[in-house]
């Protein structure tokens, strides 16, 4: 267990001092006077055809060095389907879409030259809502959808349905036809959420030795590399991406967006070019958490057995498929998670609209599907007279239970976590007294999420000073993985102190492939690759030391910076001595390691159009909220918040608690006041901090959290990702607590004061989805 004791600790962040002193150079702190500044000409209509685009006059403006249009980067990119041009080509699909870009000596000169671009657009009737997009006669957002390159096979597509994923297990019709069940049906609708990272999307591109070099604020250096290659029609190896510290991501930076433009302009000018979104651009073109519409029906017996369940989930992908194409997969694991269900079928459709494209946001599709599932569960309990806590205890997924795609879950996790929540509540007490005459509600909800595994690579170089250098494509976005969990893991493997582990920031020229920092995956996937790299280092180190000590390698251990003979502390020799010997004899000691998804199996024929058929590492949460609702104003105050989170093993408990506090507060914003709406011309109305209401210090409470350890995980030392999931069940817990406080069904988020007042006075129309057909199968492409 020495490996564990050398790994698990509340290690402080090595980047904290520089961040606190203002010395950390984020990408947008690296702008120098000799760089060209790029600005984008963006569409001011939501849909149209480009009739004329003449940039010749702009090219003659003072200071202008280059102007690029879609013709200069004709390749299309996307996740699943390549449907997205870097700059609009012929068709405009959303308000704010980039059409052309100008690089000039100063930002002012570049902005001035925008007016000289001759642009004529023939407006088209926009398709703003999923209801409009799914009309049989709807105009197609992508007329040429059939011709797009399909990057991942398997999804059904048609017209404005960018992608459809289905799961089906068991005989749902038979379950709903049983004489001993009651059917409960619920409909939910949720809006978008804007990430608002403090550092906007920004990139600095240069052209070096015939290759592009992009420094950028991204979570996915390899995606930026590959997308830049695609759109510029270069081999991806002609693109190098390096990533300085990132000033917040939350999923927004999990896809490429403006980065390739800087490479394009750098090639055209031979100069280094910076492109940074203004705050207004950033928010108006944010790849938001998507708005969604959910209809769910369940067949439940009087004993509380969920015999059947079916659901339709519509996800607005906006103008381009992007992340939503992938995220259709997640409905099976989120809306289809949490509970034992006899037979289940779910369909999840990503729908094109003429609105800014959506993207990934912390626990993506899970946040609203968990809200919908937990509110639906409470509606079942109301309809059939069950106690919500007892119903959950009886029905949560346990050892051997089947998920929506037929995945077999291992171990009882959610059940014991519900018990732990009751113990946590007993220790903290409840806060009903603080409601002070207002309407009080408390709710306990559960959630199912996962660790997005996928490929990672790591190299470890052991140095003659006893330090180790870890080289990966990991990025520090604030979650602490690069400064806490990874150096802890490597130190534990090599018997070093964490400050002896140097962690290289991402450089696609230096480190192997990685699918990016997101989905709670870095500690697990890069951590596992790092453990594998350390195994090779250990093997070489112990072999060399064995020769030097005339001892068998299996009798040696690494401890406190030394190679020691087992059971004889202080024996053997220092690691630097062994490394120096190796360097002079067999060569420097390095190790490389790799990790890939295990691809846990689903039941044959259960999952259609899924990117992930089953979860390699499920992650569970239990969230409990206490709220007070002011019946005069509709304001919801959060009185207390409690979390029990499945972490596998907590490598740095203090850091995890920081992630839980931050993730819950982002969830409170989503649940209560972060609202994105569109203007009549399809522009995101909340494009600054005055109109988009972020949580402030006075809105929040200290979250009481209990870390649940010991659930199975393929992660190193049994760990699971802990940074993504804290937001998962906040909308659910708040939605359920407010519903109980006001005694009315909550079917929409966010619960802004006007909406709560309308709910209280029964003036809030329930969501109705005429575009979702009554029969489940009619909502599928079959």
């Amino acid at each position: 267990m020495s490996e564990l004791s050398a790994t698990v600790m509340n290690l402080a962040r090595r980047d904290a001092q520089d961040k606190l002193r203002g010395r950390t150079k984020y990408t947008n702190d690296r702008i120098r006077p000799d760089m060209l500044h790029a600005v984008l000409l963006r569409s001011t209509v939501p849909a149209g055809r480009i009739r004329k685009l003449d940039v010749s006059a702009a090219l003659r403006c003072p200071g202008v060095r280059a102007v690029a249009t879609g013709a200069d980067a004709p390749g299309l990119y996307g996740i699943g389907i390549a449907d997205h041009p870097l700059l609009a080509i012929e068709t405009i699909r959303y308000h704010g879409e980039p059409i052309a870009v100008i690089a000039a000596e100063t930002e002012k000169q570049a902005r001035a030259a925008l007016a000289a671009i001759m642009l004529e657009v023939e407006p088209l009737a926009p398709v703003f809502t999923m209801a409009e997009a799914l009309q049989p006669a709807a105009r197609l957002v992508h007329e040429g959808w059939r011709g797009y390159e399909v990057i991942t096979e398997g999804g059904a597509r048609a017209g404005n349905i960018a992608w459809e994923a289905r799961s089906s297990r068991g005989d749902v019709d038979a379950a709903f036809a049983r004489p001993d069940i009651r059917i409960v049906e619920s409909s939910f609708t949720v809006g978008r959420q804007s990430h608002v990272p403090f550092e906007p999307r920004v990139a600095i591109g240069s052209w070096e030795d015939g290759r592009a070099h992009i420094q950028t604020s991204t979570q996915v250096p390899w995606t930026v590399r590959n997308v830049t290659g695609r759109v510029m029609q270069l081999a991806p190896g002609h693109v190098r991406v390096t990533v300085p510290p990132v000033g917040g991501g939350f999923g927004l930076k999990f896809d490429a967006s403006i980065e390739p433009i800087t490479a394009l302009l750098a090639r055209m000018t031979g100069r280094t070019v910076v492109l940074e979104n203004t705050r207004q651009e950033e928010m108006a073109t944010c790849l938001c958490r998507e708005n969604a519409e959910i209809r769910i029906r369940s067949a439940v017996t009087a004993e509380g057995y969920i015999a059947g369940r079916e659901a339709v989930v519509l996800m607005d992908c906006g103008a381009y498929g992007g992340e939503q194409v992938f995220l259709t997969t997640m409905t099976a694991h989120t809306l289809g998670g949490n509970y034992k269900v006899g037979a289940m079928r779910l369909v999840s459709r990503a729908v094109y609209t003429n609105t800014p494209p959506n993207g990934a946001f912390r626990a993506c599709n899970g946040v609203y599907n968990t809200f919908a599932l937990e509110r639906h569960t409470d509606e079942i309990c109301d309809a059939l007279g069950f106690d919500p806590m007892e119903f959950r205890k009886k029905n949560v997924l346990g050892d051997g239970d089947l998920g929506a795609t037929g995945q077999v879950f291992e171990a009882d996790v959610l059940g014991p976590m519900l018990d732990r929540m009751e113990a946590l509540r007993a220790s903290t007490g409840t806060s009903e007294a603080k409601a002070d005459g207002r309407l009080y509600g408390i709710a306990t909800t559960v959630g199912t999420w996962f660790v997005f595994v996928g490929p990672s690579a790591a190299t470890v170089n052991l140095n003659a000073d006893g330090s180790a250098t870890l080289v990966t494509s990991g990025v520090e976005i604030g979650s602490g993985t690069m400064v806490q969990s990874l150096p802890q893991i490597v130190a534990g493997q090599l018997g070093l102190a964490p400050d002896q582990v140097i962690v290289r920031e991402a450089d696609t020229d230096a480190a192997g492939l990685d699918v990016g920092v997101g989905g709670g995956r870095t500690t697990v996937s890069i951590g596992a690759a790092s453990v594998a790299a350390c195994a090779e280092v250990r093997e070489k180190l112990l072999r060399t030391a064995g020769e030097m000590l005339q001892t068998r390698p299996q009798d040696l251990v690494l401890r406190d910076g030394r190679v020691e003979i087992t059971g004889r502390p202080g024996s053997g020799m220092s690691i630097p001595a062994v490394v120096a010997h190796a360097q002079a004899t067999t060569g420097p000691i390095t190790g490389s390691g790799a990790f890939a998804a295990r691809n846990a199996p689903a039941m044959a024929g259960c999952a259609m159009g899924h990117f992930i058929d089953a979860l390699d590492i499920p992650v569970f949460v239990v969230h409990e909220a206490e709220v007070a609702v002011d019946p005069d104003t509709g304001h919801v105050e959060v009185l207390a918040y409690r979390v029990v989170q499945d972490v596998g093993r907590a490598l740095n408990p203090r850091a995890i608690l920081g992630q839980i506090q931050g993730g819950v507060v982002q969830g409170l914003g989503y649940a209560l006041h972060e609202e994105v709406t569109l203007t009549a011309d399809g522009h995101i109305a909340q494009d600054d901090f005055e109109t988009y209401r972020l949580p402030l210090a006075q809105d929040v409470v200290p979250v009481a959290a209990d870390l649940y350890e010991g659930a199975p995980s393929m992660g190193p030392l049994g760990t699971k990702g802990a940074g993504e999931v804290p937001i998962l069940a906040v909308g659910a817990a708040i939605g359920c607590a407010v519903a109980r406080a006001i005694g009315k069904p909550v079917r929409q988020l966010p619960l802004t004061p006007p909406r709560v007042l309308r709910l209280l006075h029964e003036r809030e129309p329930p969501p109705e989805f005429p575009h979702i057909a009554p029969g489940w199968a009619s909502n599928t492409l079959g």
């Binding site: 509340n10 203002g22 403090f198 000033g247 705050r279 920081g658 931050g662």
Partner: protein, 165 residues
């Protein structure tokens, strides 16, 4: 127009449009990038600096209005190898930092607040943070650090008329 002022203890002059926001001078001309331009509308607080010891958002401060003033940025609060300001040390000790972009502004706002409000309660600290937004941390550790720091200062008797900043 020429504007002369003190910047982190040194004389400094600016030639140009007096309406230029102070934050742009700091970041683009002086390369003092610890001052962050996040919303540029006075809501987020990430660009907070001290002007004659008052915490102000530098995005809303036209350079013409700092004529003759002493401006201190985060770089000037504890420069070189100097020890961290006690509040910075508290933030580090409590593992408060995540992405870190709001923290220079938090430090500048709250260091001035602590100096002026040495006996502030937790709700008063939270009220003082209304102009400083953090998207990562959920705030509570920031409040904890300020409360700890005030507590330590009181115990150390460093409070004659306020905390020594």
């Amino acid at each position: 127009m020429v504007v002369t002022f003190q910047l982190n203890g040194e004389d400094c002059s600016f030639h140009g449009d007096p309406m230029t926001p102070l934050v742009d001078i700091l970041r683009r001309e002086r390369f003092l990038t610890g001052t962050k331009a996040v919303c540029r509308e006075g809501f987020c607080g990430a660009c907070t600096v001290h002007v004659d010891d008052e915490a102000v958002p530098s995005c809303l401060k036209p350079i013409g209005l700092v004529q003759g003033c002493a401006v201190t940025t985060i770089e000037g609060l504890s420069s070189g190898n100097q020890a961290l300001h006690p509040l910075q040390a508290s933030f580090e000790a409590i593992d408060a930092v995540q992405c870190g972009m709001c923290f220079p502004g938090m430090v500048m706002s709250l260091s001035a607040f602590m100096r002026d409000n040495p006996h502030a309660s937790r709700p008063e600290i939270k009220a003082a943070m209304v102009g400083n937004i953090c998207r990562c941390t959920g705030y509570e550790r920031i409040v904890d650090a300020v409360a700890d720091c005030l507590d330590q200062a009181r115990k150390a008797g460093r409070l004659a008329g306020g905390i020594d900043v």
